[in-house]
Assembly symmetry: C2
Homo-oligomer: 83 residues x 2
């Protein structure tokens, strides 16, 4: 079943990339809510810890990549909100 | 460690609700990309199958709820894109 996890990991990870790219390109962060981004970022970190604890390769891979996407969105929100 | 999974489940599930609410309220789906929504929706279904297969209560709960959020966003995108 690990293959199902890896396909899931690929799909949900890849689904965030257009959002990161669009935000980076347009610098438009008005429609992104900070509480939402923060909850999501912390949630992904916890999923990563959980994935490590239950020894799930696909969860570890997926959340290691998604945590970077989530971090970048939080960073963009802070950086571009001031302008 | 299941508690970490449940907190993660709560955070990432709740992070999607403002997006669903905002889209339902504004009927504005222009900034949502259909390929992204579809990938995400299919990805969540696969995470749910994976969660069941590895017997992870927090993954089953989280993805059962998130699959509804993802489905609603796909539905809104189809419904409001035509207007």
């Amino acid at each position: 079943m690990e293959i199902v996890g890896f396909v899931a990991a690929f799909l949900t990870t890849a689904a965030f990339l257009p959002q990161v790219y669009q935000t980076w390109k347009t610098k438009d962060v008005t429609s992104l809510s900070m509480p939402m981004l923060t909850m999501f970022f912390v949630g992904i970190i916890l999923w990563l810890i959980y994935g490590i604890s239950i020894n799930s390769p696909s969860m570890i891979v997926a959340n290691s990549i998604t945590v970077i996407s989530a971090f970048m969105l939080v960073y963009f929100k802070i950086k571009y909100a001031k302008k």
